[in-house]
Symmetry: D2
Subunit: 322 residues, 4 copies
C-alpha cells in the first residue's frame, strides 16, 4: 500500500486528537478510525466518520426520545425482526463515510450503486500518481469456459509472465506519456502542492496538454480515490452484491474489508445481515415446491422438478446435495 | 409543547452523558443536542445526531487524508466557491438527524422531499396521543383573493371564533371516537407501555377496531412524529423551498427553527447558503436583458420588457423598484 | 366508484384517439389504457402511459441497436436469468404512469416508496370532494390479539354498526364544517371550474378560511388522487411489499389491481416476478441448515433448530408442515 | 461515426415499423427516433423511446382525467409558471430513453448524475471494439494558466503532432495487447455472435486472460455505450450543468445534441428551460444589492461592492459591463 510519509503523518495526527461528544460512540470502530486498511496492491479503505450504532436502529424503529433502559437481548431481537421482515428504514438511520483508494475499473462497478454520496479525486484538476493495479499471480485467471462472466483456472508459466509484462509495460508507458503530454513535473505530493507545480514546466518550449485531456491516456487499472458515504441499509445491499461469489474478485476484496468494519460498527445488525442475507438462500416458487416434495419423501430429479438444468444444479448445491 | 415528564427525563439523561471520540465535533451544536426546540403549539424539532462540520466539506472537496493546516479563511473561500458554482457533492458529506413532532398535513408536504431517510411513528402499531394543531389567532388567515395558493387577511371576530370552535370540537370528537372504537385505554405513555394496554379493554364486551383502521377517523391536524435524516446539500434544498415566503406558514415555522440549527452546525456553509441561495435572486434571460437595458440608461416598462405583468411585478420587487 | 359524467367523457374521448408511433406498443395494455379500474368504495387505478415491454428489458440487457430476431423463448430465458440473479437495471428501462384515487391514510403508506414520481391533487389550491372511505362489512376487523400490527376477527352486530356510524357521521360532519369554513360552494367540478367559484361565497358576510388551513379538518379516510410514475423494477419492489399478506388490506387492494396491469404489460417479467419473488421464500442461514438436516433424514424440532418459536413457525408454514 | 452495416440495418428495420397507440405521440421526435446522431469522432446519441409531451406536464400539474380542451397558450403559460417557481414534479412525468456511445472518461463524468437508469455494455462479458477518441486538432487544448480546471490555447505544430501520435500509438498498442491477452479473435460483431468466438482461440496453446481482467489494459479514451433513461426534470438538470461553458468540451458535445432532442420533444418546456435556467443568471444577495445600487445611480466598483475580485468580474460579465 502506498501511503507517503506525509499522508501517514496526517492520519496519525488526526487519530491523536480526542474530543468530547454527547453523541453515541462505538469504541470498537473508533479503534480503527482513519487507519488505512490495505486492499489489493496499492488500495485501501479508511473509515473517516460514522453516525449511530445498533441502538440507533432500535431508537428509530421506536421513534423514541432517548436510549431507554432495555436489555441488549431485546435490541438484538428487534434488529433480527426488522431484518427478517424487510423493515429497512431503521437501518437507514446509521451512516458511515469511507475514504477509498481503488483501480478505476473497480470504481466503475462500484459507482453503479447510486444511493450513496461520492467525491472523487479529480484528474481534471489534479495529476494522478504513478500507481496502477497488477494482479497477484494467484489472481491472474483465464476466461471461464462455462461462464462468460467468470474466471477459470489461474494462468501459469510463459502466458502468465507475458500477461504481467504487457500490463506493466503498457501502464508504465501510458504514465510516462501522460506526464510528457502534461509537461509538468511528476506528481507525488497531494492537493495544494500540485498548484505550485503549475509554473514548473519540464520543457519550457511546450505549453502542455490540458489535464482534462491528458488523463485519457491512462488505463483502467490506474488508481483513483474517493470519499464515499452511505447509510447502513444501502451499505448492506452493496455488500450483499459485492461480497458475493459472483462479484469480480477485485471489488470483492474491498467488500470483504468493509464487512469487517461492519462487524465493529454494528455487531447485531452485521450478524443479522449474515444470518438473513449473506448466509441464506432464496427459493423460487418451483424450488420451494421441490423442497416440499423432497421433505414429503417423494424422489425428485431435474426432469420432474420443473426446473432448468442450471437452476436444478444451483438448488442442489444450496441444499448440499451434489 | 407537550413533553411528558418521562420524555424530558429521557432527554436529560442522554444529554448528561459525554463520550470520547476521534470524530470531528461541533461544540455549538452539541450545546443543543437532544433538546426539543418548540414549533407551533405542540410540535418540536430535536437534533439527535450529526456527522461532519464545515471542515468535512473542504476535506471531501480535496479528497484529503487529514484536516490539513489551512486557515479558516481559505476554507471559507472554498465553501463559497463550491456553493456559487453548484459543486454540490461535498455538501452531501455532512449528515444530520432530527426527531420532529408535526401535524399530519405538514408531514404530507414534508415527505415530498424524497432524498432523506424517515422513520415515522406508526399508528398501525401504536396509539396516537390526543394532540392536534390549533392555529394561533394571528395565523388564522382567510383565503387570498389574488393567489389561489395563499393566505389573505387574518380572520377576526365571530368568524374566527366559529372556525376555532369547529376545529377544536371536531378534533376532540374525532379523538374520542377513535378511542371508543379502539376500545383500549387512552394513550399517553410511549412505546412499550402501550403493549401492556393490550389487555386493558375499556368495554370487555367489545373486541375493539384494529388500530390500522381506527386511525382513519383522525383529522389531518393531529400530530405525528418521525426521525428524519438528511445530508447537508439536500437539507439546504429543503430549507430553500420551505423557508421561502411561498411556503405554507406551518411548515415554514419548522424550516426556520432548522435554519437556526444550520447556523450552529456549519456556520460557513450556512452563511454561503444565505448569500447565494436564500438571499439571492434568479433572473430569467429576459429579466437579465431588462436589467442590462436599465443599467444602460434605457427606460423600460412592462410593455417594452417582453415580460408578463406578473413577472414584471416580481422583477421590480426583487430590484426594489416598486 | 365515483367518476362524474364529465370525467368519464374525458376518458372516453382520450381512449377514442389513436396515433401512429414507431415506439414499441403493448396491445394488451392499450386495451385498458385510461380506464378507471375500481378499488375500494370510491378509488381507482388508471394506467395513463407506459414505456417499453418485455423486449425492452432484453434490449437494455444486451445494449443492442434494434429488436433483433431472437425467439420469444430466448427472451423469456434471459428475463428469468436476470430476475434470479438480481440484475435489476434492465427492468428499470420500462416505465409506467398511473392515475390513482385513494384514501389519504393509504397515500401515506404508499408515499414511503421514494423511487417514483408523484403529482398529488393539491388541497392547498383546490377543494376536495365529499368522498371518504368506509370499510365494507367484511373488512371491518378487530385488532389482532397476537400481532400488534394486524387484524383479527371481523366485527359483527352492534359493535360493527356503531363503528360504521361513527366513521360515517364524523366524516360527514368534518366535510360539512370544511365547506362551512371555506365559505365557498361545494366542490364537484374539477380544476379550472373551481376558479370560478372564488367569487361564489356562501355567506357574503364572511371571508372564508384559507384552503390550506381548512383542509386540516378532514380525516384520513378522505380520498385524494395523484399521478404516480415508476420504473418496472421499483414497481415490482413496491408490489412485492404491498401485495404481501402482511400489508394492510386497503393498500393490498390497490397492489392486486396493479399486479393485473403488470400481467398485461410485461407478461414474461410478471411471471418471473411471481416465480422468483412473490411465490418464493427466503431461507435464513439457520433455516437452510434446518432444511438440509431434515433432507438428510434427521428429526428436527424447534428446540434443536436454533430458531426462535416464531421463526420456527414461519419456516414450518413455508415448508407446508404445520 | 462507426455504425456497422448490420447495426444500421437493425435501426432501419425498427424505424420502418409503425404501430397504433392510444398514447400521446410527438411526431417531431418520432422523425428522428432510433437514428444515431453523431457526436465526437465515433460516438452517437439515439433516442430509443419516450413517454409524454408538453401536455403531459400540464396534465400532471392538474391531476386531470384527460387532455382537456385548453388552448396551447394556456399550457405554455402554466409550463412557464411551473419552471419559474421551481415546481419540478410535473416535469418528472415525462421520460426519455437514449442509447449513447461515448468515451469512458466522458462516461465517468456522466454517471455522477445518479437520478437516471443505466445499462452499460459489459466488458466483463463481451469484447470491446477497437474504437477510441482522438481530439480534433481544434480541440487539442493546452492547460489553462488561470483556471486549473480549464483549457487554454489550442496546441499547434510539433507539440500537437507529438500529442496526437502518443495518444494514437498508445491506444493502438493497448488494444493489440488486450486482444493478445484475451487470445480470442478480434471483436466487430455484436452480442450473441461474440459467444461463438469462445472456441476461436488465436493461439491454441494459451488459455487467454479473463475478459474482466484484460479490459483494464484499455485507456480512458476507448468507447463504451449504454442505455440511459431519465425523466425530463433530471434531464434538464443534467443539461443545465453539462451544456454549461464550464463543462468539459467532450461532454458538452453530447449535451448540445441532446438539447436538440429536447426542442423536438417538449418545445414549450425546452423554451422555458432556456428562458429560466440556461439563459438566466443567479444573483447572490450581495450581487443583488450591487445591482440595486447601480440602478439607483450610485457608482459602484469592486472595492465598494463587498465582492471578491473574481465574483465582481463574473457579475460584470453577466451584466454585459466589461
Amino acid at each position: 500500500m502506498a501511503l507517503s510519509r506525509e499522508q501517514q503523518d496526517e492520519i496519525d495526527r488526526q487519530r491523536a486528537q480526542v474530543q468530547a461528544t454527547r453523541r453515541i460512540t462505538v469504541p470498537a470502530l473508533e479503534e480503527i478510525l482513519f487507519q488505512a486498511l490495505p486492499v489489493l496492491d496499492h488500495g485501501f479503505v479508511r473509515v473517516v466518520d460514522y453516525m449511530g450504532d445498533d441502538g440507533a436502529i432500535v431508537q428509530a424503529a421506536r421513534v423514541s426520545y432517548g436510549r431507554g433502559t432495555r436489555k441488549v437481548q431485546e435490541d438484538r431481537g428487534l434488529i433480527n425482526y426488522l431484518m427478517r421482515h424487510r423493515h429497512t428504514t431503521p437501518f437507514e438511520m446509521c451512516e458511515i463515510k469511507y475514504h477509498v483508494k481503488l483501480p478505476i475499473f473497480v470504481a466503475r462497478q462500484w459507482i453503479r450503486h447510486r444511493t450513496a454520496n461520492v467525491n472523487e479525486y479529480s484528474a481534471r484538476y489534479s495529476i494522478l500518481d504513478r500507481e496502477f493495479y497488477m494482479p497477484a499471480p494467484e489472481h491472474l485467471a483465464a476466461q471461464s469456459a462455462s461462464n462468460r462472466q467468470g474466471r477459470g483456472e489461474v494462468l501459469a508459466g510463459d502466458e502468465a509472465r507475458r500477461v504481467l509484462d504487457l500490463l506493466r509495460e503498457d501502464s508504465m508507458r501510458a504514465y510516462d506519456h501522460y506526464i510528457e503530454m502534461l509537461n509538468e513535473d511528476d506528481a507525488g505530493a497531494e492537493g495544494e502542492d500540485a498548484a505550485k507545480r503549475d509554473s514548473a514546466k519540464r520543457d519550457p518550449g511546450r505549453q502542455g496538454l490540458a489535464r482534462e485531456l491528458a488523463r485519457m491516456n491512462l488505463s483502467l487499472n490506474f488508481y483513483t480515490q474517493w470519499y464515499w458515504k452511505i447509510d447502513l441499509y444501502n451499505l448492506m445491499h452493496f455488500l450483499g452484491l459485492r461480497a458475493d461469489a459472483h462479484a469480480q474478485y477485485e471489488i470483492r476484496a474491498y467488500a470483504e474489508v468493509m464487512l469487517g468494519t461492519l462487524d465493529r460498527w454494528v455487531p447485531h445488525a452485521a450478524s443479522a445481515f449474515r444470518e438473513y442475507a449473506l448466509g441464506g438462500v432464496r427459493l423460487s416458487a418451483t424450488g420451494l415446491a421441490v423442497v416440499r416434495r423432497m421433505l414429503a419423501g417423494e424422489p425428485v430429479d431435474q426432469a420432474t422438478s420443473g426446473m432448468s438444468a442450471r437452476e436444478w444444479r444451483e438448488l442442489m448445491a444450496a441444499l448440499g446435495r451434489t
